[in-house]
């Protein structure tokens, strides 16, 4: 009881110190000693230093540890001096807080490994539980939930009592429950309450916590076991939803890759084996855009993809028009020869990119709005996948609208349905051909922008999508954009429901075999055009 009081008192002091942010000069030499350990470049010393600094109650503790986490803490191994580079670029001495001109030349950033990173997180969690920034408090509560450091209980409880923001309060309650569950001298009833709180959380981390409890009183163990099974069955249900989402996401990638092909192959009947290379060119356009932005206008990085989309469309579209004018137009009505010529073309384009950009992968970064994930119920939805899905549907809708409502769209449909008639009505068929092919290629280029966010940007990028794209278009039914849409999502979802059962490889084989069998049943795909026209 007495110890508890002291703990609370200490926590109170700590919180006052942190809240007021008073730059009290540290008088205690133990703090200096502790900080100096950072300069030893030994993980064990660094670990000790973190513990001691965190426990010191010194106002500089939090800045030091967060600097350590971000790699802004440097140490001079000779003088054993440690420096904090603040986020605004100013440099201070870690032990005194006094401003310093520059870090000595032989100082190096204090190194961390994963174990230390966890220690830092836990320490920082303890230190920022009472931070005025709600986001930091939430993060702190979550890191305490994971680390369940017993000595943080009083701080957590204090924070819990004061917290007014509901989700954070909930997080504090969960953090407290986690600590209590691991506290050997907590009462059974406290522990049972804690189990209930954790069970209510119901996610994989709750599951991890409950399954990792170790020895517990029988009553608690029983409650934990039942909580585990209930969470597991709940999660199993969610995993179905998750598979469906993954399927949609994979379907959107397939659709994106195939949609340009649905134009060049589906509408024009040109078997364009260089389609994948158009996708690749789009991805490389993104790379170039990002490179320019990185070196010239770093602040615009988040807009890089928005800039890349029209550029990729233009680049790939232009090359598409060029290809149509120089190669494809001589091969109309000879689909299989087009296949061979475009295959040759794909080799040339690949090697050209390999020569220009090198054979290795190129880095295309995710803008901040495409990084990370959010939780929806018990499934994780990553932003990049979500955006790609939205983007794909948007491209699809725009394309559909374009074909239906614009003059070019009308001309395209006229030319593909009856070339001679269209020509005699004054449509410049060769111009329409070039533009249609350019449109299909341009859309492939756009697809490249999106795919650069989830896949390699290398000369081989296109190869990995070409077969899948053809499967999607053929499965959906040539000449039918809606067929391509349904085909892509069907294949995506089927793949993702097969994968957990059969594994990735067998799942893919099964899909291929199913497509082969399906084509026997419906030789012209899911949404085949009927009637005499198709025979022509």
């Amino acid at each position: 009881m007495f110890a508890n009081c002291i703990d609370r008192f200490r926590a109170l002091c700590l919180s006052i110190l942190l809240l007021s942010c008073l730059a009290v000069p540290a008088l205690a030499s133990p703090f200096e000693d502790s900080v100096a350990k950072f300069a030893n470049d030994e993980f064990s010393d660094t670990e000790a230093a973190i513990g001691e600094v965190a426990a010191s109650g010194n106002a500089l503790a939090s800045p030091i540890i967060s600097a350590l986490q971000d790699g802004r803490l440097s140490a001079d191994p000779d003088s054993k001096k440690v420096f904090v580079t603040q986020t605004d670029g100013k440099i201070v001495d870690a032990t005194t807080g006094a401003a310093v001109d520059k870090v000595p030349d032989n100082a190096a950033a204090v190194r961390l490994n994963n174990r230390l990173r966890r220690t830092v997180e836990a320490a920082l969690g303890g230190l920022t539980l009472l931070s005025p920034d709600p986001a930091k408090r939430l993060a702190a509560a979550q890191s305490v939930f994971k680390s369940h450091e017993e000595n943080l209980l009083p701080t957590v409880e204090g924070a819990l009592a004061k917290e007014s923001v509901k989700p954070i309060k909930q997080a504090f309650a969960e953090a407290r429950a986690a600590i209590i569950l691991f506290k050997s001298d907590a009462s059974d009833s406290d522990k049972l309450d804690a189990v209930a709180v954790v069970k209510a959380r119901g996610d994989q981390e709750a599951l991890a916590l409950l399954t990792g409890l170790g020895d517990q009183p029988p009553l608690v163990a029983k409650a934990a076991a039942s909580a585990v099974s209930s969470i597991q069955s709940n999660l199993a249900m969610w995993s179905m939803v998750q598979n469906a989402w993954y399927g949609l996401s994979l379907g959107s990638v397939l659709l994106l890759a195939a949609i340009g092909l649905a134009i060049t192959f589906g509408v024009m009947g040109v078997i364009n084996m260089a389609h994948g290379e158009m996708v690749m060119l789009g991805a490389y356009t993104t790379f170039v855009v990002q490179e320019v932005i990185r070196t010239r206008y770093p602040t615009l990085f988040d807009y890089s993809l928005l800039i890349a989309v029209p550029l990729a469309f233009l680049v790939a579209g232009f090359i598409g028009v060029l290809i149509e004018r120089t190669i494809i137009r001589f091969l109309y009505g000879r689909p299989l020869e087009t296949l061979l010529a475009t295959w040759g073309l794909s080799l040339v384009l690949q090697q050209a990119v390999r020569t220009a950009f090198g054979p290795t992968n190129r880095e295309v970064g995710n803008p901040s709005w495409m990084s990370g994930a959010f939780e929806l119920g018990q499934i994780t939805i990553t932003y990049n996948r979500l955006w790609i899905l939205c983007f794909t549907l948007a491209v699809f809708a725009i394309l559909l609208a374009m074909l239906r409502y614009t003059a070019l769209g009308l001309e395209m449909r006229a030319v593909t349905q009856n070339r001679r008639m269209a020509a005699s009505m004054g449509i410049a068929t060769s111009r329409v051909d070039a533009l249609t092919f350019g449109l299909g290629s341009g859309i492939a280029g756009i697809a490249g922008v999106a795919l650069s966010q989830i896949d390699n940007v290398s000369p081989n990028l296109g190869q990995s999508y070409i077969i899948d794209s053809f499967m999607v278009v053929v499965f959906g039914g040539v000449g039918n954009l809606w067929g391509t849409l349904v085909g892509a999502f069907t294949l995506g979802i089927a793949n993702k429901f097969l994968e957990p059962v059969a594994g990735a490889v067998l799942g893919k084989i099964a899909i291929l075999v199913l497509i082969i069998l399906f084509i026997q049943k419906r030789p012209r795909g899911l949404f085949a055009l009927k009637g005499r026209a198709v025979e022509a």
Binding site: L529, K530, G531, R532
Partner: protein
């Protein structure tokens, strides 16, 4: 046995209540038609009247949604595929002349001969005198004897039409379906074709689809006018061409 059944069993071709639609478009609508053995029938009708689709149905290329299609009174054609129907003895000439362009005239006829059509049969085939005599005869009939070694693709349009008719002869079917045999022909050729068809009709049942009214008149046979997938009028050429509805939808003005 009622009247209908007698008609059915005695007919060479018997279509009754046939419907077919493509994506909601009714190409054939309650079509009923009977072709007696040895008859030659001319089919006329505007574009989209369903003439070619009707031939597709008879030859097994298109399956009707409902209705009866009988051959020789007993054989249900809707259950058979093109090959089987051709084997039964229904030959067809296409609207657009379809010959094997990269093969010689002679080979085109050879392929059409109604001899063993199995893989084995053709692999170990060796020509017989009877066969070459028949080919010679057909070549003479279609006036292509001099062109026998030319590639079919190098023939003129009219010659291709004739070659295709020649292939029908070589096939020696019971029923010939002839789709627009004189399209693109000169007047002389048209006349000769009419003569030729009449000659063929001596041994075969024929159904001719044609737009050329002069030609149809020259044939001098019973005429059926189709419109929107159904029979509009039937009778002699004079009867049909004086029919008000026919004039309205087809002959016009």
């Amino acid at each position: 046995m009622n009247v209908m059944d007698t008609r059915a069993t005695s007919a060479m071709l018997y279509l009754d209540g046939v419907h077919v639609s493509f994506d909601g478009f009714h190409a054939i609508n309650n079509l009923s038609l009977t072709l007696a053995p040895g008859e030659m029938r001319a089919i006329i009708g505007p574009n989209g009247a369903g003439k070619t689709t009707m031939m597709d149905i008879i030859t097994g290329k298109t399956k009707p949604d409902e209705g009866t299609v009988l051959f020789d009174g007993t054989v249900d054609l809707t259950r058979l595929d093109e090959t089987r129907i051709a084997e039964l003895g229904i030959g067809r000439k296409f609207q657009k002349p379809t010959v094997f362009e990269s093969q010689t005239v002679q080979d085109n006829l050879l392929l059409a001969l109604n001899v063993d059509h199995s893989v084995r049969g053709t692999l170990f085939w060796r020509g017989s005198k009877a066969e070459s005599e028949r080919i010679d005869k057909v070549l003479e009939t279609i006036r292509l004897t001099d062109a026998r070694n030319r590639l079919a693709g190098s023939l003129s349009h009219g010659q291709k039409q004739w070659l295709e008719i020649g292939m029908l002869l070589a096939q020696d079917p019971k029923v010939l379906l002839v789709d627009e045999p004189v399209a693109g022909m000169t007047d002389v050729e048209t006349h000769l074709t009419a003569e030729l068809l009449k000659e063929i009709n001596k041994n075969h049942t024929i159904m001719v689809v044609e737009h050329d009214m002069t030609f149809v008149r020259e044939l001098g046979v019973k005429v059926t006018c189709l419109h929107e997938g159904t029979v509009l009028a039937e009778g002699s050429i004079d009867q049909v061409s004086s029919n008000e509805r026919v004039v309205e939808v087809y002959l016009g003005r």
